[in-house]
C-alpha cells in the first residue's frame, strides 16, 4: 500500500514537472548564447581568483604554456574596461564563425607569431591598414608593387590568408 502511494506520488511529480521544465529550457539558441557569454567571462573569473589558486590551476601545464598564459593574462588585464568590452564583442562574433574558419584564424595567427619581432610589428600595422580598406581597394593595394616590395612571399601569404578571412561574409 505504502509502495503504491509512493509510486503514484513520484509519477505525479514527474509528469507535473514536464511543462515547467520545458518553460525553463527555452530555445536552443538562447542556451547557446548564454554558454558563449559564460565562456567569454572565463578570463574575468580566472583573473579574479586568488594568486595561489591561479598557481594551483596553472601547475597542471608545462612551464612554457604557464608563461604564455600569464603573459596573455597580463596583456588582457592592461586593457581598459571599454577595450575589454569591445574585445568581448569581437569574441562573441568570433564564436559565431564556423569551427573551421576559427581554426584557420588561429593558424594564421600562429604563423605570424613565428616571425621575428620587428616583422611582427610591421605585419600588425599592415593588418590594421588592410582591415580598414574596403574589399575592392584592398585587393588593388595587395597587387601593388609597393606592397609586394615591403613583404616577403611568406608574409604576403599570411596577409593574403587574413584578407580572405576578412572578406568572407560575416555570420
Amino acid at each position: 500500500m505504502l509502495g503504491r502511494v509512493l509510486l503514484t506520488g513520484v509519477l505525479v511529480l514527474a509528469f507535473s514537472a514536464l511543462p515547467a521544465a520545458a518553460q525553463f529550457k527555452g530555445p536552443l539558441a538562447k542556451r547557446k548564447a548564454a554558454q558563449q557569454q559564460k565562456r567569454s567571462q572565463m578570463v574575468e573569473k580566472f583573473s579574479r581568483l586568488p594568486p595561489e589558486e591561479q598557481d594551483r590551476m596553472l601547475q597542471k601545464l608545462p612551464k612554457d604554456r604557464r608563461k604564455q598564459i600569464q603573459n596573455n593574462l597580463d596583456r588582457y588585464n592592461e586593457l581598459s574596461p571599454e577595450q575589454k568590452k569591445r574585445l568581448g564583442r569581437q569574441y562573441e562574433n568570433f564564436q559565431q564563425w564556423p569551427p573551421e574558419k576559427q581554426q584557420s584564424a588561429r593558424k594564421i595567427f600562429r604563423r605570424m607569431n613565428g616571425l621575428e619581432e620587428e616583422r611582427k610589428v610591421a605585419m600588425r600595422r599592415e593588418v590594421v591598414k588592410l582591415r580598414n580598406l574596403p574589399g575592392d581597394r584592398r585587393s588593388e593595394y595587395m597587387r601593388s608593387d609597393s606592397y609586394k616590395d615591403s613583404f616577403s612571399a611568406d608574409e604576403q601569404k599570411i596577409l593574403s590568408d587574413l584578407a580572405d578571412l576578412m572578406a568572407e561574409p560575416r555570420p
Binding site: V43, R89, N93
Partner: protein, 188 residues
C-alpha cells in the same frame, strides 16, 4: 549412458572390450558400475568383466577406497552458540554500515513487496525531474562582471585551465588582428 553402452554392446552379449582401454564412454560406464548406478543386467555384465580384468579390478578397488574415505569423513561439530554468534555478527555489520547502504539493502533485498522493482524507476524519474527543474544557463546568475564580488571560488569556476588558455589565445589574436570586428564592436 547405459543406452550408449547398449549400442556398442548388445544386452545379451558378453562384454568383449575393456572399458578402460576402449573409449571415454565405457570408462564412464565403469565409474557408474563403481557407484552402483547401473541397471542390474548391465551391472552383471560389468561384474563378469571386472572379475577377469586386472586393470578394471584395480580401478574399482581404488574407487571403493575413495568412497570409503569419503564415507568416513566427518565434519567438525558446530558449537552450541554458533547461531547466536552469527546473528550478533550480522547485527554488528549492519550497525557499522552507513544509513544509505542499510536503506539500499532493504530496498534491493529479495522479498514479496511488489513495489520493489519500481524503486530504481522512481529514482530515475526523480533525477530527471530534478534536472529538468534546474534553471538553464541563461537563468543562472553569472556572478561575473566588474561589480560583483572580487574573488570567485575555484569550485564555482568549473572550467579547465586549458579552456582559459585557449580563450586567452583567442582574445590575444582578436586584439592583434581584429579579424572579428564588426561595426557594432568598433563603436565601443
Amino acid at each position: 549412458m547405459q543406452s550408449r553402452y547398449r549400442k556398442q554392446q548388445p544386452d545379451s552379449g558378453p562384454l568383449t572390450e575393456c572399458p578402460l582401454t576402449h573409449g571415454e564412454t565405457n570408462a564412464d560406464l565403469l565409474l557408474d558400475f563403481c557407484n552402483r548406478k547401473l541397471a542390474p543386467e548391465l551391472n552383471a555384465i560389468l561384474q563378469a568383466h571386472v572379475d577377469i580384468c586386472p586393470p578394471c579390478q584395480a580401478f574399482t578397488e581404488t574407487q571403493a577406497q575413495v568412497w570409503a574415505a569419503l564415507d568416513a569423513f566427518e565434519t567438525a561439530p558446530i558449537s552450541s552458540d554458533f547461531d547466536a554468534r552469527l546473528r550478533a555478527r550480522i547485527e554488528e555489520e549492519e550497525q557499522r554500515s552507513s544509513w544509505w547502504s542499510r536503506l539500499w539493502n532493504r530496498m534491493t533485498a529479495g522479498g514479496t513487496a511488489n513495489w520493489r522493482p519500481m524503486a530504481p524507476v522512481a529514482a530515475v524519474l526523480l533525477l530527471a525531474a530534478g534536472l529538468s527543474l534546474r534553471p538553464s544557463g541563461s537563468e543562472v546568475p553569472d556572478g561575473g562582471g566588474p561589480d560583483t564580488a572580487p574573488l570567485v571560488k575555484s569550485a564555482e569556476l568549473s572550467v579547465e585551465i586549458e579552456q582559459v588558455e585557449t580563450l586567452l589565445e583567442d582574445l590575444e589574436m582578436l586584439r592583434e588582428l581584429g579579424v572579428a570586428e564588426t561595426n557594432s564592436s568598433r563603436q565601443m
